[in-house]
Symmetry: C2
Subunit: 354 residues, 2 copies
């Protein structure tokens, strides 16, 4: 494909030099947009919202209509996988996710091979978005990585992960079996997403932080490797971005030994770390969402620093974590203008009557 | 001094090769000991407890009586400094620390040069402990590092630090002025501790995590450097251990550019990171407190790994974070036996009638 018709985003993942880094933001479909809040208000149940292809596709497309992002990411949640393998998941307003009792390993193992089928609505969302999306924009699918998902499954919701890490020490065989089940479910889920139109897959290891080197090897490096290999064994060639958030000093090893195609960096990544990774793979990251929200001269300076330190290598501009709900849209527009040279859609009026 | 009379701990900090690493644990004076709980019950006000030389000295000495630690650390709290420079600090049961309104920079600047005098009770604690402690055991003084202390001062208590980081972006001049005040207060406080018997000083940057490289430079590297230089300018030659907890990929730079004498590593430090630091400076760390609490074969294996990977260089065995209150004493005894070859004090019966 020529650079014109192929999304810039995919060219960077293929290692081609671009005139500027492509850009998207984690949680770009989300609460900082008034039209998202209006849409979300029509569906009190968050899981049902994620599994409603019409609404999830609409949420995915909302930021693409008004802002010059180079990629859309499917609107979904990392806790759909536990649901697909038999664990109850619900959200309570203002409290975050809640999960029911952990099913037996046998029960989850039975369900894992059909995780994609159980979550086919996410595939339907992807198909709808791909059909509506500008061909020059890429479409990203994703899943929570096994350890991160396991922390919620073990602790029954959000936590400081100390219960899950203790579980890893005290019940190593059960945890390893759970990770294996999650690897299988994740491969099936991501393969379904690729078949449904996802052109890039992202593996969110949101809670890689706090792990000692041996746990990181066992809970992050090994399962990420197994997921990418599992996808390739099924003939899925879609590039995978790995995001070991909080892995900091272990990112070097992660980048070298796992077969992910690109590495997303978090807010703390030093310039030199990104440059070392870039010698082998494209990187993505790593503007502080707190700084995007704060704005001002410090934001402008940091954007220049990121472009200067990483812009010469294969680089996808992004945040180091998800965009915060109370981020002014003007700050997002300002950063996108600097990175892409493009203004927001002129005279844009968001749809609010959902 | 011969190796016999000088604490093993100090010899390692001076770069001398030892037959085994010295060992102490963060929060070794604390709630996992029944005698600590008994003593603590006599003083409902935690700050008053820290500032009572008799009680604080007793808390410091308790673990030394029953366990073969190589060093004692003065019982105190990192939030004594805000108190010394005019901010109210109190603890509410089960809720952690609370801080009153942030005083004006001018007010804090007036008080900072007398921080040591304001906290002279901590010096009295150190003198009492040094007089009672076996000469072969080292005595450690400490302070919270400026950024970590500032996060509590700005947020009014414990937090996820996002408010303080936002403050760093939105009010850079005020925050930098606060950090400067804290540097001055910390130098005075630590100099007083050294004059009172502390043979090692530790700077706890408990919240180095989550900082981007530019913030880390500004909020951690620069103030730590200023504190060590400030101590040396006052003729204080006591070795300083820096603990940038969560700095992970930035530890390499921290170890090279700051003049701290040794670097404490957290739970996530990979073997190779510690070895790189050891080429320049002694290291300390980094057993996971969750693993110490969990015990079992995973604990034994990890202790062997730590000794094998770092034991050949200058190394102080420790945890990567504080010991947890519900840690079985038997697990501590087992690790200390492995590291020191020594049993706990035979037939030890803790004093419980405080």
């Amino acid at each position: 494909m020529s650079e014109k018709s192929r999304p810039k985003f995919l060219s960077v993942l293929a290692g081609e030099k671009q005139s500027r880094p492509p850009v998207w933001f984690m949680r770009q479909a989300g609460r900082y947009l008034p039209e998202y809040r209006a849409l979300r208000a029509t569906a009190p149940n968050f899981i049902a919202f994620c599994l409603d292809p019409e609404k999830a596709a609409e949420a995915t497309l909302q930021p693409m209509r008004r802002l010059p992002f180079d990629a859309a990411i499917v609107f979904a949640d990392i806790l759909l996988i536990p649901r697909a393998i038999g664990q109850e998941v619900w959200f309570e307003a203002g409290e975050g996710p809640k999960l029911g009792a952990l099913p037996s390993i046998e029960r989850m193992r039975d369900l894992a091979p059909a995780a994609g089928e159980a979550l086919k609505n996410v595939g339907e969302t992807l198909s709808r978005v791909r059909a509506a999306l500008d061909p020059e924009k890429a479409l990203i699918g994703f899943a929570g990585a096994p350890w991160t998902v396991a922390t919620y499954m073990i602790e029954g919701g959000s936590s400081d992960r100390s219960g899950a890490r203790t579980y890893a020490y005290e019940h190593p065989e059960t945890l390893d079996a759970l990770i294996d089940v999650l690897v299988e479910a994740t491969v099936d889920y991501l393969a379904m997403q690729a078949a449904s139109g996802a052109q890039v897959l992202k593996l969110f290891e949101s809670w890689a932080e706090g792990l000692s080197e041996d746990l990181f090897e066992r809970l992050v490096i090994r399962p990420h490797t197994a997921i990418v290999k599992g996808l390739r064994a099924r003939g899925v060639t879609t590039p995978v971005i790995g995001f070991p958030r909080g892995a900091a000093a272990l990112v070097d090893r992660y980048a070298v030994v796992t077969p992910v195609d690109a590495v997303a960096l978090d807010t703390t990544a030093p310039a030199a770390l990104g440059q070392r990774v870039q010698a082998a793979k494209p990187i993505q990251g790593a503007l502080d969402p707190l700084l995007l929200r704060a704005g001002g001269p410090a934001l402008d300076e940091r954007v220049e620093t990121l472009l200067a330190q990483w812009g010469e290598g294969p680089y996808i501009f992004n945040l180091g974590h998800g965009i915060l709900p109370d981020t002014p849209i003007a700050h997002v527009e300002r950063v996108l203008k600097r990175v892409t040279g493009k203004d927001p859609t002129p005279n844009f009026t968001p749809k609010m009557d959902y």
